[in-house]
């Protein structure tokens, strides 16, 4: 029998169930490189809080990490139902982490529905912690179990740890004077305490955090601390857990770090763009999943030069933002696919007015309302082409949660430099996922240059900068520069309404040229591996982590595969076409039915192959690796 810990990632010889090894009661700690853990339960069980708290302390412990929350679209689906299951997965490691992990090594399931919805993902031989207190007949029925999986032998391939979290929490809190309902709400802290013991996390920072979170209700703070410590001590004393696992801090670039979620990085990126440009940020939005938290966060940043405006609808939001830009502030709006669809006409007006505007699309599953809480990359063609007329807009995408910060600043920079709306694509996976972020220092970021025209002499409304083709930005209120702009075609110089046929063609071409010139400001392509070989994997957006890791694994096996990840989708990088042609094969993985691949084939006449997934879930590393294996030979060809 193997002596491998049930808490660590099982290898090929992992035990398929069977009696657990009995070990001495004193703590034994095994060191592991990386661990993937998933907490799941009913949406009323507080699993998101459990996950984020575990993440916070793990980040403070210096591990590299990546997280993936997964919650239902309904705020409160019927308790105990599969539809109401909420989950939170994270991978943490002593080395660089690219993704939240393909499959959890440890699954904490707070009720039968959570078990049913998540069990298939748990690696065979993985640790399964179940709250037996929730495995009642009605709950089993609601989850669709005909027999109790804890009793019918169906879980034999896992290391099952049966813990009556419900009862143990109630016992720990019986003297607190709290109602049984309130006590029930502390279960997640018991589970968190247990996980802290299992993965050897320090308890002090968590106790501090609980005190802060529940500062206004000290009796709840006390109860949650009690439940948390009860869970921790249970791990230590209960004989079912044989050892705890330690993951050492990851070696990362020197500096100050904080754990950051994608939407938060986007919000802070916007404020930073305001700092770098000296512009006030005018953010107008309308509530929509999964973009709303950008609005929430920015609404706290008024003291940093941000005004937020919650509008009556998505159209008003982009309209108000454009009004802000006309007024000389940097207008920004954020939404998700359905909201972006509504904004289309205004994006056209912004193209016509040639004012800076940043439109953020936190993509989710579509079409229509689709899968509001799940991730997808299916709005690329919408961003590139989804408007009437010849309506070019620069489009870029963020790659990781922390990268949302840099991508946002880049979007603002281009919007101002070229006087154009810019679309920034992120997605639900980036928005709610988190990773450590190296906090910048002031000198690290280049200022964003802004010039407002104030000189009335010789002013022509659509006269352009010869390099960027941007027209001048004039703040209303500037003496002597009154002018009118609008959505009717304008004379190429004066901006007056013009129906002249040749002028229209000149304007269409000029707007296209202006966007093409954005590429002049691009840095080098984001390429990993040699610039030629058997296979180039070309990705964009949030698939970055999974592609990077799968390519790294394949290269370690000697496969001649490289990875290019596109920051800009429009315009495309000037060197991309040549690069694609230096590989035998090109693979384009996307969380859609093949959108970038169409663009690449059309632009460069390359026989790029598509690899797609639209399950509302990111690619796993193993899926990508398997595809790379099919397309490459394992060793260097002679």
């Amino acid at each position: 029998m193997t002596t491998q810990s049930p808490l660590s990632p099982p290898g090929a010889g992992a035990p398929a169930g069977g009696p657990l090894p009995t070990q001495p009661k004193n703590r034994s700690v095994a060191e592991r490189e990386s661990v993937v853990i998933r907490f799941c339960g009913d949406s009323g069980d507080g699993m998101q809080l459990t996950g984020t708290e575990f993440t916070r302390v793990t980040a403070l412990a210096g591990n590299d990490l990546s997280t993936l929350p997964d919650f239902p679209a309904e705020i409160r689906a019927p308790a105990g139902s599969i539809a109401g299951v909420s989950g939170y997965q994270l991978q943490f490691s002593s080395r660089e982490v690219f993704t939240p992990g393909d499959q959890p090594h440890t699954l904490v399931a707070m009720n039968p529905a959570a078990l049913k919805a998540n069990l298939a993902d748990l690696v065979p031989g993985g640790a399964l912690v179940v709250n037996t207190g929730a495995f009642t007949k009605p709950n089993l029925q609601k989850a669709g179990y005909e027999s109790n999986p804890l009793e019918d032998g169906s879980l034999e391939r896992y290391h099952v740890h049966q813990v009556d979290v419900t009862k143990l929490t109630a016992l720990a809190l019986k003297d607190t004077g709290l109602s049984s309902k309130e006590i029930g709400r502390c279960k997640n802290f018991f589970a968190l305490g247990l996980a802290f013991w299992m993965y050897n996390r320090p308890t002090e920072p968590e106790i501090e955090s609980i005190k802060q979170k529940f500062g206004k209700k000290p009796e709840l703070a006390d109860a949650n601390i009690k439940a948390f410590l009860a869970g921790y001590n249970y791990g230590e004393t209960a004989e079912i857990f044989t050892e705890s696992v330690e993951v050492k801090p990851a070696p990362i670039a020197a500096g100050t770090y904080r754990n950051i979620m994608g939407n938060s990085a986007t919000a802070i990126g916007l404020v930073t763009a305001g700092h770098l440009s000296g512009l006030d940020i005018f953010f107008a939005g309308y509530p929509i999943t999964p973009a709303s938290s950008i609005l929430h966060e920015l609404s706290n940043y008024r003291a940093y030069g941000v005004t937020t405006f919650q509008c009556e609808d998505e159209i008003a939001a982009i309209g108000a933002a454009l009004g802000g830009s006309f007024g000389g502030q940097l207008g920004v709006t954020a939404s998700s696919g359905p909201g972006i669809a509504l904004k289309g006409e205004f994006m056209g007006l912004a193209v016509s007015l040639e004012l800076p505007l940043v439109i953020i699309n936190v993509q989710r599953g579509g079409p229509s309302t689709g899968l509001p809480t799940k991730t997808e990359q299916a709005d690329l063609l919408q961003a590139l082409y989804g408007r009437n007329g010849e309506c070019p807009i620069p489009v870029l995408a963020a790659m990781t949660p922390a990268d949302c910060f840099d991508a946002t600043i880049e979007a603002c920079r281009v919007a101002v430099k070229h006087m154009t709306p810019v679309v920034l694509l992120t997605d639900g996976y980036l928005a709610n996922g988190s990773e450590p972020w190296l906090v910048p220092k002031k000198g690290d970021l280049a200022p964003i240059e802004v010039k407002f025209r104030t000189d009335p002499a010789g002013y022509e409304v659509y006269e352009r900068d010869p390099e960027t083709l941007a027209r001048a930005w004039v703040r209303p209120g500037t003496p002597g520069l009154t002018h009118r702009v609008g959505g009717l075609e304008k004379d190429a110089l004066t901006g007056n309404v013009s129906y002249d046929p040749v002028n229209h063609e000149v304007m269409c071409q000029t707007r296209a040229d202006k966007v093409a010139r954005v590429a002049r400001g691009f840095g080098t392509l984001h390429l990993t591996g040699p610039d030629h070989g058997e296979l180039l994997v070309c990705g964009w957006g949030s698939t970055y982590g999974a592609i990077a890791q799968s390519v790294e694994l394949a290269r370690a096996e000697g496969r001649r595969v490289s990875h290019v990840h596109l920051r800009w989708l429009n315009p495309l990088h000037g060197e991309l076409g040549a690069l694609l042609k230096r590989f035998d094969k090109v693979l384009v993985p996307e969380m859609n039915l093949g959108q970038l691949v169409k663009v690449l084939r059309a632009e460069f006449l390359v026989d790029a192959q598509s690899f797609t997934k639209v399950q509302g879930k990111p690619f796993t590393v193993s899926e990508l690796k398997a595809r790379i294996d099919q397309l490459t030979s394992p060793k260097e060809r002679s």
């Binding site: 009556e312 008003a316 006309f326 007024g327 450590p436 209303p476 002597g480 002018h483 609008g486």
Partner: protein, 355 residues
């Protein structure tokens, strides 16, 4: 070009309409009521010496929405129905600018109805001029949300099947703090309304009856025509009794349910003494009174023009500015590094962070 309106303190040069006209040819159909409205707006701007550099006209789509092109101020001719959205963003971002919105019955009450009612609800300091010609002009004659029930148009050959909006009632329903109605052709009255709108702090909404002589000629002739005007129109004047008719010989009385009856005013038999006619009060706190007035319509009652309601309420942008002052009393921005470092941070890597 120098700007006479910016020269504060200099000897006042008499300004004229021309100082507020842009260099663009006005392209409405000859005879369109829009010309008269443009002239009165320019006249009022000249009389009040308004600063064109600090003024922005914002419009949507439709005949009336060409308006900004003809004003020598800042201007945005935007997209259909969305002018209040742009104008709201602009006003919140730049509260010191004077912002006028020009819209029509289709633009403002149909495709853009949502933005209109929410701008009004927020009491953002916008001057909204709704040119009501009860038809779609630019798209050639379809019925609009203010067209009469049963009206035959190109899109309703069997008659309009729905009931029209009453723009004044819509504005009041949205909580408007200033609501007025005027005729395009009644120049002095229109000027007076524009002046009051300019002076109002908050959303000022004016419905302007506007003749589209091409697609709906004479839509308001039954009210405007000299012979019947006094009989069919009642001019609301603050503090004055609700009188109308030839020589102000009639008055309005209301029953407990807000129904109006016209009565002969005088001391004779069957007449009501003028003292018994209610005086108009535009400052009534509740909008119920103004709403009752808004329901007066031809042919049952005379149609009111003038100011239905003018009350003071904090504007949206004032509230936003006050909130901003609370978090940043000096107006100076907080240091960006404070934001970067908020929350749990840790120092990692060799040497750490020596900041």
């Amino acid at each position: 070009m120098s700007n006479p309106t910016s020269m504060e303190g200099a000897a006042p040069i008499k300004l004229t309409r021309k100082d507020y006209a842009s260099d663009q040819d006005v392209r409405w159909c000859p005879g369109c009521g829009d010309y008269a409205i443009l002239a009165q707006v320019q006249k009022v701007f000249a009389d009040l010496r308004l600063d064109r550099d600090k003024t922005v006209f914002v419009s949507g789509i439709g005949c009336s929405s060409r308006f900004p092109y003809y004003m020598n101020t800042y201007g945005v001719h935007s997209i259909h129905g969305r002018a209040p959205a742009i104008a709201s963003g602009l006003k919140v971002a730049r509260p010191e600018l004077a912002i006028w919105v020009v819209t029509g019955d289709g633009d403002g009450l149909s495709i853009g109805g949502n933005h209109l009612i929410h701008a009004i609800r927020r009491n953002i300091d916008l001057k909204i001029l709704l040119f009501n010609n009860r038809i779609y002009g630019l798209t050639k004659g379809q019925y609009s949300p203010t067209s009469e029930f049963g009206k035959r148009t190109v899109s309703t050959p069997h008659g309009v099947p729905d009931r029209p909006f009453n723009p004044v009632a819509v504005a009041l329903g949205a909580g408007a703090t200033f609501v007025a109605r005027a005729f395009d052709t009644d120049t002095d009255h229109l000027q007076a309304m524009l002046r009051r709108a300019h002076a109002h702090k908050g959303t000022a909404f004016i419905e302007i009856y506007q003749n589209c002589n091409v697609f709906n000629d004479g839509a308001f002739e039954h009210l405007a025509e000299k012979k019947v005007h006094d009989e069919r129109v009642i001019a609301l004047e603050h503090g004055k009794p609700l009188l109308f008719g030839p020589g102000k010989s009639k008055g309005l009385r209301f029953d407990a349910h807000g129904r109006a009856t016209a009565v002969e005013v005088g001391e004779g038999p069957g007449q009501v003494p003028v003292g018994a006619i209610a005086c108009h009060d535009e400052s009534v706190d509740s909008s119920g009174y103004a709403f009752v007035l808004s329901q007066l319509d031809y042919p049952t009652n005379p149609v009111p023009i003038g100011i239905f309601r003018a009350v003071e309420r904090p504007t949206y942008e004032q509230t936003v500015e006050e909130q901003a002052r609370k978090v940043a009393p000096t107006g100076a921005r907080k240091d960006i590094e404070t934001l970067w470092h908020q929350g749990d941070t840790w120092v990692a890597g060799s040497g750490g962070d020596a900041e």
